[in-house]
Symmetry: C2
Subunit: 467 residues, 2 copies
């Protein structure tokens, strides 16, 4: 089991207690998740909130924090001889709990007693939104509510407390995220070198780089997007043969053994050399990526940086003849969302979209910054003011999505800013996205991990050594 | 989407209809499974029964067979423009259904109507056991029963019909399984060559060979077991550094793009050369593997082959001085279960333990062959008579499990057959398992796929080329 020192977990729980007025805080650890039958499971992934406050990377554990009594508990069942034969010797729940600074451990049956007593006493039981069917069923059983009603009793007070603490990354966390980016360095340079050889199937590359993540750390932090059809934003199919003239998007990241994520995107020309059309669009996206990163500092709203990136992108697209008119007016009209119908980035940590399960708006927005409802901009996950200790992604993109182009063209949408005749000739272009992981520092920003090649020259240099 | 021709699916459904007297057969396809928050999902795995009868490898579909009206349906919702941006253009439910020979397709809302009408008319609705929380919740919603009661309404008639059909593998299925074994060939020879270099961490090897599976086909067919502590039968931790003098077990298999499985185990000496103690135990397990395979033919109960393997193993362990006394008497007393506390094998197909979700006893046993309740032997998943077309694993093993040795020794259990003084000296040995995938033919057996090195000489030859 990979753990930080116990003070880390004690401190985190102490901070949380000071955020919540009263009651019991209930953290259900994950169960194993079945793949195609009960005993055949996906790789185990502990719940991130459980990991953050209780550290133990094992299934069927429940953590409880009694805010009123200032007591922390771990509940779980010890193993028997049959379990030892199949799973090996396991430390006792008591010994594991001690490693994360908890002296109160007990069985799951006694958790039921604790909770039913608390319910009888009318105490508040705070819990976070469940995201697996098993969670819903377990909460329903423990708290005596219908599975479909569980969501109505989620604690917004607990959500806000958790977000406030988790979004400021500790030094030990930043070190883990840098490790995750370093794994992504190996994944992406391998992907580039493999893309230098046209004729192979995407799966071969995607599988190989997922293997790198598994070999060097944990699983991938999200399903790898690797496609010569990058215009499909979340393309998880890897059946295309890669061919000269295509751009190949690789959006992939790793988890470390401690389950911290990286999330990096690079886009490269199959074969290893950019043609002129590819260069122009690529440079526009790269400029947007670089200028956005350079603008990061505490106190600025991320929404501002999103629109700055959009502006840089539009400047490039005007130069390429794809867009036209006044840059600022085009961005104000959100005409760029034809080409970049998504947000500039999101927070990242134990989850690749950090804490997304607590509600995107609870993480990325606040009372001062309300989420847009407009097409494209609505997908901006992080809009609020940045603070030192935030870790976030910067991932501008430019895509030529035939179905969307046809729709806008038919509606004559933003034709003041879009040269539809030119855009038509780009329908076979695919898409480009360039993404890095950034720490907000006291004075500005730091790009995390070993720098991964991204200029045209750097990418072509890596691809000059095909794999 | 990877599919067989539509006649394959039409024929399978036709066969199933002839097995079930009346009613509606309800097959819930899988939803996406969440990893650490709702939108971050594990690699999608379709339900195997849905795949077998309806073929479509996509989430949120439901198949229905109306036995009385001889009508087959697919229910699902078509995508909108937002889905196209994120997921790419998708064929309509109607077009997909046509590819598997189904002309009746409709929305999920209309499925609810169909089912509630059927319930009102008092028609029987057959369904299979759910194995994900989401399944239970979906069945509960569709059929108006409590999630915890769903299991009480599972159809044994449907289970029996499905097992009868799925356990006889078609030619197209056997071809897929051979492809899966061929992927395992690459995984295992790579693992052997990497184990030739002591000092690396297991994770590096496990991750690399999982990458091979992903690059060549689908995901791994089950979480890879790769450990220098092979005495832990299902060891999914890969944190040990491999060292000279240790045996390393690799139990791993791949899925093809059509989701057919392989399941292969090899055990090799770290560094590449067996020492004498390792040779003796290894040869005992190998002899058990080979003799068991050679005994496979239609009409024989697999339980008999299990005990034949046990006998061969005991002969070897007596020769090594680990056991003593009369071979047959030791096996009759089940003294061998100290060393092999598991069964010889199981059926394999779309699931690595084929159809295990339908109940092990419904798949591996029948009215003529009842499952043992004895320690070790109870883990034999397949006991019944073999038929041509069965695909199964043969996987004898020999383990030195310290906790189990201590327990039996303290109880003086089977001391007529076990030299505990000698066994004590093997407590650091680890474990050995050797596993192949076998087709039962009309006259005997066929080992599937490209032969994977397993004799001492073959293994040492592969390991002479370290990676």
């Amino acid at each position: 089991m990979h753990l930080f020192d116990k003070e880390t977990y004690i401190n985190r729980r102490q901070k949380l207690k000071s955020e919540i007025k009263d009651g019991l805080l209930l953290f259900i650890g994950n169960e194993e998740a079945s793949f195609n039958y009960p005993a055949n499971t996906y790789a185990f992934r502990q719940d991130s909130n459980f990991l953050y406050f209780f550290g133990l990377d094992l299934y069927n554990l429940v953590g409880v924090i009694d805010v009123d009594a200032d007591k922390d508990y771990i509940f779980g069942n010890d193993v028997d001889i049959d379990d030892i034969i199949w799973m090996g010797p396991q430390p006792s729940i008591k010994d594991m709990s001690a490693k994360v600074g908890i002296s109160n451990s007990d069985t799951l049956t006694n958790l039921e007693t604790l909770l039913s007593d608390a319910i009888k006493e009318g105490r508040k039981i705070h819990f976070l939104p469940p995201y697996r069917g098993e969670h819903k069923l377990q909460l329903s059983g423990l708290l005596g509510m219908k599975p479909c009603s569980v969501k109505d009793y989620v604690s917004l007070e607990l959500i806000r407390g958790v977000v406030k603490i988790r979004e400021i990354k500790e030094e030990v966390e930043i070190a883990e995220i840098e490790k995750a980016v370093d794994i992504a360095y190996e994944m992406h340079t391998t992907s580039m070198r493999m893309a230098a050889k046209p004729g192979r199937v995407e799966r071969e590359i995607a599988g190989t780089i997922e293997g790198i993540s598994l070999a060097m750390g944990g699983p991938v932090s999200f399903p790898i997007i690797l496609s010569v059809h990058g215009e499909t934003l979340h393309n998880h199919h890897h059946d295309n043969t890669i061919e000269l003239g295509q751009m190949m998007v690789t959006d992939g990241g790793a988890e470390t053994t401690m389950h911290y994520a990286s999330d990096i995107t690079r886009t490269v020309p199959v074969g290893g050399k950019f043609n002129d059309r590819q260069k122009a669009v690529y440079q526009s996206v790269l400029d947007a990526n670089v200028k956005a990163i350079e603008a990061i500092k505490p106190g600025i709203e991320y929404r501002e940086i999103h629109f700055l990136a959009a502006k840089v992108l539009v400047e490039g697209l005007i130069k390429a003849g794809i867009m036209k008119g006044d840059v600022q007016a085009a961005v104000d009209a959100e005409a760029h969302t034809l080409f970049m119908p998504h947000g500039l980035g999101h927070q990242m940590g134990l989850d690749v979209h950090d804490m997304e399960g607590l509600g995107e708006d609870n993480v990325g927005y606040n009372e001062k910054t309300v989420r847009s409802k407009n097409f494209g901009t609505a997908y901006l996950r992080l809009g609020k003011e940045l603070k030192p200790g935030f870790v976030l992604t910067v991932e501008p993109g430019c895509y030529f999505i035939p179905a969307l182009i046809d729709k806008w063209k038919a509606e004559n949408k933003h034709s003041d800013f879009i040269n539809y005749d030119v855009v038509e000739t780009y329908k076979d272009f695919g898409g480009i996205r360039i993404e890095d992981d950034i720490l907000v520092t006291e004075t500005g920003y730091r790009v995390l991990g070993k720098p991964i090649p991204k200029t045209i020259e750097e990418v072509e240099a890596v691809m000059a050594n095909p794999l």
